[in-house]
C-alpha cells in the first residue's frame, strides 16, 4: 500500500485540508440542534422575541459557513482524487511499457487493461469518498455522542449501548452479503460467457437445430441468477428496517428515561429535543459509514491489484550499445536453450545457426514446435536460458533494447493493425517516414494495388484491429508496416498464410529483388514458400532436426521430406 500512497504526496495539502473543512462543516451541523434547544429553552420559555431572531440568524449563518466549508472540501477531495487517479494511471501505463514480454504474458493483456481502466478508477473513487466521508461520518457519530454526554451522562448510556448494536448489525449483514454478491457476479459472468459462445457458434447451433435447448439453458441460468439475487436481497433488505427500529426504540428509551430526569429537574425539555435529534443524526451517519466501508473495501482490493503491477520489476536489464549495421554476420545463435517462465520443459533446445547479410532463413515445423519462440528471441522479447544470441556481432543483452528493435521489422502471426489511417499505421515503424518510403513498402508488400483502389488511399481510416479489411489485406499491410522502417532484419512469422499462392510468390520475388541487403527470417507452414531460402531450419518439439538448403534437406532430413511430400501430393 505504501507504494500507492506516494501518489497522494503531491496532493498533501488537499488531503489534509479537505477533511479539515469537512470537520468544520460537521461541527457546525452539530451546533444547530443546540441552538434550536436554546431557542426553545431561552427564547420561548422567556418569551424573548429578539433572542429568537438573533438565534435564527445564527442558524442561517451557520448554514452559509457550512455550505462554504462543504464546497471547499468537495473541491479539495475531487482535486486530490482525480490528481491521484490521473498520476496513477500514467504511472501504471508507463510502467507497463517497461515490462518485458515475460511479465506481460504473466499478467495477460486483459488483466492489464482492467487494472488501468477499472481498478485505477475504483482506487480514485476510494480517495474521493475517503476525504468526503471518512472523517465526517465517524465524527458525527462521536460528536453526537460527546454532545449527548455533555448534556447528560446518564441518558447518554443509551447511545453507548445502541451504537455498537447497530455497528454489529452492519458487520453481520456485510459479512454475509459480500461473498454472496461475488457469487451473483459469477453467475452473471456465466451468462455473459454463454452469450458470447452462442454468438460465436450461432451457425453450428442452427445447423444442429439446437435453438430450443439453448433457450432453455439461458432461461435456467437467468432463473438461477434471480434466485441468488433474491437470496442476497433477503438479507440486505433487513438492514435498513432493523437499523430504523433499533434507533427509534433508542429514542423511546431516551424519552422515557429523559422524562424521569425532567421530573427530578436534572434535564430540560430542550435538552430532550436535542437528544432525540442526535439520535437521528447517528442513525444517518451509520448508514453513510456502511456505504463508505463498501466503497473502501472495493477500492482497497483495486489498489492492491494496481500495486501488484507497479511493484513488478521488468526482468530484463538492458545495455547501451548501438548497433553497427555494417557487420557482415547479422544473426548468430549458438547453443540457445529457452523455456517460458513457469514452464518445466524447454521450448527451444540447443539451437545454433548463423546468418550473413542479405541471407534468408526459412523455418518450418509443426504448431508448438518453437518457430515463433525462436523468432521472438531475436528482438529480445525474451532472454535465452543459456547459449548466446548475437546481432551484428554483439550479444543482444549489450544493446539498448529500443535501438536493437529499430533494426528489426517484425510481422507477427496475427495481423494486428491499429485504429487510424493506413499512413499512421505504416509510420509506427518510422515516425518520419515520407510518402515515397511508404509507397515503396506498399509496393513490395503487394498492397499498393488495393490501397490505391481505396477511396482515400493511404489516408483511409482503419477501425480498431483493422476489421474493415480482409485477412489477406491486413497481412499485407502489416508487412508494409515492417518494411516502412527499412529494417536490417525482417521477421515474417507465418505472416503470409492468408495470401494466395500467386501473391505469396510475387511478394517473395519483390523482397528478393528490392531488399537484397535485408536479412530475412521467414516462418511458414508451406514448404513451397521456403524452398528458395538460403538456409532452412526444420523444427520439431523445440529441437532443430535439420538445417540446410532445400535440396540438402530433401536428401537428409526425414521430417522435411515428410512435410514436403504431404503438401505436394
Amino acid at each position: 500500500m505504501q507504494h500507492l500512497l506516494r501518489f497522494l504526496k503531491p496532493y498533501r495539502k488537499e488531503l489534509i485540508l479537505g477533511p479539515f473543512f469537512k470537520l468544520l462543516e460537521a461541527v457546525f451541523e452539530l451546533i444547530v440542534p443546540v441552538v434550536m434547544a436554546k431557542i426553545i429553552d431561552n427564547g420561548i420559555a422567556k418569551g424573548d422575541a429578539a433572542y429568537v431572531g438573533k438565534m435564527c440568524a445564527l442558524i442561517v449563518l451557520l448554514g452559509i459557513c457550512g455550505l462554504g466549508f462543504a464546497l471547499t472540501c468537495q473541491y479539495f477531495a475531487a482535486k486530490c482524487a482525480f490528481g491521484f487517479g490521473t498520476d496513477l494511471r500514467s504511472a501504471l501505463y508507463r510502467h507497463i511499457n517497461t515490462l518485458s514480454h515475460t511479465e506481460i504474458d504473466r499478467f495477460g493483456t486483459s488483466t492489464l487493461i482492467n487494472r488501468i481502466t477499472s481498478d485505477a478508477t475504483s482506487a480514485q473513487t476510494g480517495v474521493n469518498m475517503f476525504i468526503r466521508l471518512a472523517v465526517r461520518a465517524p465524527f458525527l457519530i462521536i460528536g453526537a455522542i460527546v454532545m449527548a454526554l455533555l448534556i447528560d451522562v446518564k441518558l447518554s448510556l443509551i447511545f453507548l449501548i445502541i451504537a455498537p448494536i447497530v455497528g454489529l448489525l452492519l458487520y453481520f449483514v456485510m459479512n454475509r452479503t459480500v461473498p454472496m454478491y461475488r457469487r451473483n457476479q459469477q453467475k452473471l459472468d456465466t451468462i455473459a460467457r454463454h452469450t458470447g459462445e452462442n454468438l460465436d457458434g450461432m451457425r453450428v447451433i442452427r445447423a444442429f437445430s439446437r435453438q430450443k435447448q439453448e433457450k432453455d439453458e439461458f432461461s435456467q441460468e437467468c432463473a438461477d441468477l434471480e434466485q441468488s439475487m433474491l437470496a442476497v436481497g433477503r438479507i440486505s433488505a433487513i438492514l435498513n428496517p432493523l437499523t430504523f427500529m433499533i434507533m427509534n426504540l433508542g429514542i423511546v428509551a431516551v424519552i422515557w428515561f429523559g422524562g424521569m430526569q425532567i421530573n427530578t429537574g436534572s434535564l430540560t425539555q430542550g435538552d430532550l429535543t436535542a437528544f432525540a435529534n442526535y439520535m437521528t443524526q447517528i442513525l444517518l451517519a451509520m448508514v453513510v459509514m456502511a456505504n463508505l466501508i463498501v466503497i473502501l473495501t472495493k477500492a482497497q482490493a483495486s489498489a492492491l491489484r494496481v500495486q501488484d503491477v507497479l511493484s513488478t520489476p521488468s526482468s530484463m536489464t538492458e545495455g547501451t550499445a548501438q548497433p553497427d549495421r555494417e557487420s557482415e554476420e547479422v544473426i548468430s545463435f549458438s547453443h540457445v536453450d529457452f523455456a517460458y517462465a513457469g514452464a518445466g520443459d524447454n521450448s527451444l533446445d540447443d539451437i545454433s545457426f548463423t546468418l550473413k547479410k542479405g541471407q534468408t532463413l526459412g523455418i518450418i515445423g509443426g504448431t508448438g514446435s518453437g518457430k515463433s519462440t525462436l523468432a521472438s528471441l531475436i528482438p529480445r522479447y525474451y532472454d535465452a536460458k543459456s547459449g548466446e544470441i548475437r546481432i551484428f556481432g554483439k550479444p543482444v543483452q549489450e544493446y539498448d533494447t529500443k535501438a536493437l528493435r529499430k533494426l528489426i521489422g517484425v510481422v507477427p502471426q496475427k495481423a494486428l493493425l491499429f485504429s487510424g489511417t493506413i499512413a499512421e499505421n505504416l509510420r509506427w515503424a518510422d515516425a518520419d517516414a515520407d510518402e515515397v518510403q511508404m509507397q515503396k513498402a506498399l509496393d513490395i508488400a503487394q498492397a499498393a494495388e488495393f490501397v490505391g483502389k481505396l477511396q482515400y488511399g493511404m489516408n483511409t481510416h482503419l477501425v480498431q484491429g483493422g476489421r474493415n479489411l480482409s485477412g489477406g489485406q491486413k497481412q499485407r499491410l502489416t508487412i508494409a508496416r515492417a518494411l516502412t522502417g527499412q529494417p536490417a532484419i525482417l521477421i515474417l512469422d507465418d505472416s503470409m498464410s492468408a495470401l494466395d499462392y500467386a501473391t505469396d510468390l510475387a511478394l517473395r520475388t519483390a523482397l528478393k529483388e528490392q531488399c537484397s541487403d535485408m536479412t530475412i527470417i521467414m516462418i511458414s507452414q508451406r514448404a513451397t514458400s521456403l524452398m528458395d531460402a538460403d538456409l532452412i531450419l526444420v523444427m520439431d518439439d523445440g529441437r532443430c532436426t535439420g538445417l540446410g538448403t532445400h535440396e540438402e534437406l530433401l536428401e537428409h532430413c526425414e521430417e522435411y521430406r515428410e512435410i514436403y511430400n504431404s503438401q505436394m501430393s
Binding site: Y93, M229, S497
Partner: protein
C-alpha cells in the same frame, strides 16, 4: 421516452401483485414512520418541567411509539422483499426473452452487429435497467409518499407555517435542477473521454507486443498521457459539480429549518399572532417533518438521472427484441429422408443491395459427389455455405434438395441433414462428451467414443485429465487441430447425408493435419460434400470445382477442364510449383 417507460412497465405486469403489495406496504411503513416525530413531540410535551411530568401519558405514548416503529419497520422489510421479487423477476424475464431472441434473429443481424455490443445488451444494459428503473421507481414512490405524508402532518400541526415551507420548496428544486444541468454536460464529456481512453488502452495494451516490436512505447505513452490529462480535468469538473448538490440542498433545507424555527418560536411566544400558538413539542415535531419533507426532493433529481440512463439502455434492448425473427415455418414440409441431390438454379445473392455478389449461378450436385470451392481468402466462399443452410436467403433463383426448393422445407429439418465443419472451430464450455454429443444429446457413451475413435480424437481425449468428462472451453488450451477433430467427431456422431467442410488447416501441425485429413476422408464417404479446399489432392479429386474471386464464381468444372481453360484456376494452380 414515455413509450419506452410504458413498455418496461408492461414487463412488470406478471408481478403486478408485488407492485400493489409494495405500494401498500410502503404506504403503511411510511405513514407510521411519519407518526414518529409527532409522537416524540407529544412525549416532549408530557415532560414540561420538574414535577410536571405526566408519566401515564408518557408511558402510553412510548408504547404507541414503540409499536409504530416496529410495525413500520416490519412493513418496510416486507416492502423490500416484494420490490426485490418485482425487480428481479422482471429482469429475469427481460433477459430470458433477449437471449431467446438471439436464437431467433436471422444470422444477418448477428453478423452485422459487433459481438461485444450484443453481449453488452444482455449483461450491463439490463443491469442498469434493473438498478435504475425499478429501484428508481421504488425511491420515487417512497419519496412521493413521504412528501405527501409530511405535508399532511405539517398541516395538522400548523397550516400557516406549512405554507411557508411549501413556498420555499422551489428554491430546493431550483438549486438541484441548476446543479444537475451544470454537471450533466461535464458528465457527458467525462463518459466520452472515458470511452476513448478505454479504447486506446485496450488497443495499445492488447497490441503491447507490437508496441514493443516497433519501439513505439514513447509515442504510445505520449498519446495516453494527453488523453489521461483531459480525462482527469473533465472528471474533476463533473464530480465537483455533482457533489455540490448535496451540501447545497442541505443548505436550502437548513434555511427552511431556520425559517420554521423562527416563525414557530415567535408564534409560540405570541409575537406573530397570525401563526397561532404552538407548544414546544409541536414545534419539535414540525421541525422534524420539515426536515423529512425536503429530503425526497434531493433524491428525486438523482432518480431522474438514473431513469434517463435506464431508458437509453432499455432502448438498446428493445432494438434487438424488435428485430424480426426468422419467419415461422412450422407449416412447411419437414425433410425426413433425403438422397442428397443438390442444385443451384440461377441463384442471385448480395449482402449489400448495391453490390451484387452472386449472379445467375447454376450448378448441380448428384448424391455422393464432391464439390470443391477454391479461391483466395476473403473471396466469399462462405457465402455458399450461408445459402445452402439458409443462414441467408437467396434473392433470386432457387436451391433444390432432391428436386424440392429448400424454401419449401422447414429450416431446422433442412439444416439437420447437413454436417458442417468450419475453419473457425466452435467449442463451448462443457465436457468433451457434451461437446461431441452436441448434435445428438441423447447419445450413449459408447456412441460418443465410437465417433471420437472414427475421427482420430479418442487418443488425445484419453490423455486429458478426466478423459471424456474433462471440462473444456475455447480457451482451455486445446490445440487448433484437436478442436477441429472434436468438431469432426460431432458430425461423425450424427452422420448426416450432406457435408460442408472448411478444410483450412493453415495453423495445424503436420501430424494432426494428416489425422484431420483422414477423418475428413472417412466422413465424406458416400456423402454429398461441399469442401472449401486448400489441398491439391482434394481439389484434383473433386467431381466439380467452383472457382471464386471477389465474391463471384468465375469458373467451374472439373480439374482437367479448368486446366484446359487456362484461366484463373490454371494460374492459381501453377503458381504453387514455380515458387
Amino acid at each position: 421516452m414515455k413509450k419506452t417507460i410504458l413498455r418496461i412497465l408492461s414487463y412488470c405486469r406478471p408481478y403486478r401483485r408485488y407492485f400493489i403489495l409494495t405500494i401498500l406496504c410502503t404506504l403503511v411503513s411510511v405513514s407510521l414512520s411519519l407518526l414518529v416525530p409527532i409522537l416524540i413531540g407529544e412525549a416532549v410535551d408530557c415532560a414540561v418541567g420538574v414535577g410536571q411530568v405526566d408519566f401515564d401519558g408518557l408511558a402510553k405514548i412510548a408504547v404507541i411509539l414503540a409499536g409504530a416503529v416496529l410495525v413500520s419497520g416490519i412493513f418496510q422489510w416486507i416492502a423490500g422483499l416484494f420490490i426485490n421479487r418485482l425487480a428481479f423477476g422482471t429482469i429475469r424475464d427481460f433477459r430470458t426473452e433477449l437471449t431467446a431472441k438471439l436464437e431467433e434473429v436471422p444470422l444477418r443481424y448477428i453478423d452485422g452487429n459487433a459481438r461485444g455490443d450484443l453481449i453488452a445488451r444482455v449483461i450491463p444494459d439490463i443491469e442498469i435497467i434493473s438498478d435504475g428503473l425499478l429501484q428508481g421507481f421504488a425511491q420515487l414512490f417512497t419519496g412521493v409518499v413521504t412528501i405527501v405524508g409530511t405535508l399532511l402532518f405539517m398541516l395538522t400541526i400548523n397550516v400557516k407555517i406549512t405554507v411557508i415551507v411549501v413556498l420555499m420548496t422551489p428554491i430546493s428544486l431550483f438549486a438541484a435542477a441548476k446543479i444537475t444541468a451544470l454537471s450533466h454536460s461535464s458528465f457527458q464529456r467525462q463518459s466520452a473521454l472515458r470511452g476513448e481512453m478505454g479504447g486506446l488502452t485496450e488497443e495499445m495494451i492488447g497490441g503491447q507486443k507490437i508496441v514493443k516490436a516497433f519501439a513505439y512505447e514513447e509515442r504510445a505513452v505520449e498519446r495516453f498521457e494527453q488523453l489521461n490529462k483531459e480525462l482527469g480535468a473533465a472528471s474533476l469538473k463533473a464530480t465537483f459539480f455533482s457533489s455540490m448538490s448535496n451540501p447545497t440542498t442541505r443548505f436550502v433545507n437548513g434555511l427552511i429549518y431556520a425559517a420554521v424555527g423562527t416563525v414557530g418560536a415567535l408564534g409560540a411566544i405570541g409575537v406573530l399572532p397570525w401563526v397561532g400558538v404552538m407548544s414546544v413539542g409541536k414545534l419539535a415535531s414540525f421541525l422534524s417533518y420539515s426536515n423529512q419533507y425536503t429530503k425526497p426532493f434531493n433524491e428525486i433529481s438523482g432518480v431522474v438521472a438514473e431513469l434517463q440512463n435506464a431508458v437509453s439502455c432499455a432502448q438498446r434492448v428493445f432494438e434487438v427484441l424488435d428485430t424480426p425473427s426468422e419467419p415461422d415455418d412450422s407449416h412447411l414440409e419437414t425433410v425426413t429422408e433425403c438422397r442428397g441431390e443438390l442444385s443451384f438454379e440461377n441463384v442471385q445473392f448480395s449482402y449489400v443491395p448495391e453490390k451484387p455478389l452472386i449472379r445467375n449461378f447454376s450448378m448441380g450436385a448428384k448424391a455422393g459427389q464432391r464439390i470443391a470451392i477454391v479461391g483466395p481468402t476473403g473471396c466469399g466462399k462462405s457465402t455458399i455455405i450461408n445459402l445452402l443452410l439458409r443462414f441467408y436467403e437467396v434473392e433470386g433463383g432457387c436451391i433444390r434438395l432432391d428436386g424440392k426448393p429448400t424454401t419449401e422445407l422447414t429450416r431446422d429439418s433442412l439444416r439437420s441433414h447437413f454436417g458442417m465443419v468450419l475453419q473457425e472451430t466452435w467449442i463451448f464450455t462443457g465436457t468433451v462428451a457434451e461437446n461431441i454429443a452436441y448434435g445428438k444429446p441423447d447419445a450413449t457413451r459408447e456412441e460418443i467414443e465410437a465417433a471420437a475413435k472414427a475421427s482420430y480424437a479418442h487418443g488425445f481425449i484419453k490423455r486429458l485429465p478426466e478423459g471424456y468428462d474433462t471440462v473444456i472451453s475455447d480457451t482451455s488450451g486445446l490445440s487448433q487441430g484437436q478442436k477441429q477433430l472434436l468438431c469432426i467427431a460431432r458430425i461423425m456422431l450424427t452422420s448426416p447425408p450432406m457435408l460442408i467442410l472448411d478444410e483450412a488447416t493453415s495453423s495445424i501441425d503436420i501430424r494432426t493435419e494428416q489425422r484431420v485429413q483422414k477423418a475428413f476422408e472417412k466422413l465424406m464417404q458416400g456423402k454429398t460434400s461441399f469442401i472449401i479446399a486448400h489441398r491439391l489432392s482434394t481439389i484434383r479429386s473433386a467431381d466439380h470445382i467452383l472457382v471464386m474471386r471477389d465474391g463471384n464464381i468465375i469458373e467451374q468444372g472439373d480439374h482437367d477442364a479448368l486446366m484446359a481453360q487456362g484461366g484463373f484456376y490454371a494460374n492459381l494452380y501453377r503458381s504453387q510449383f514455380v515458387g
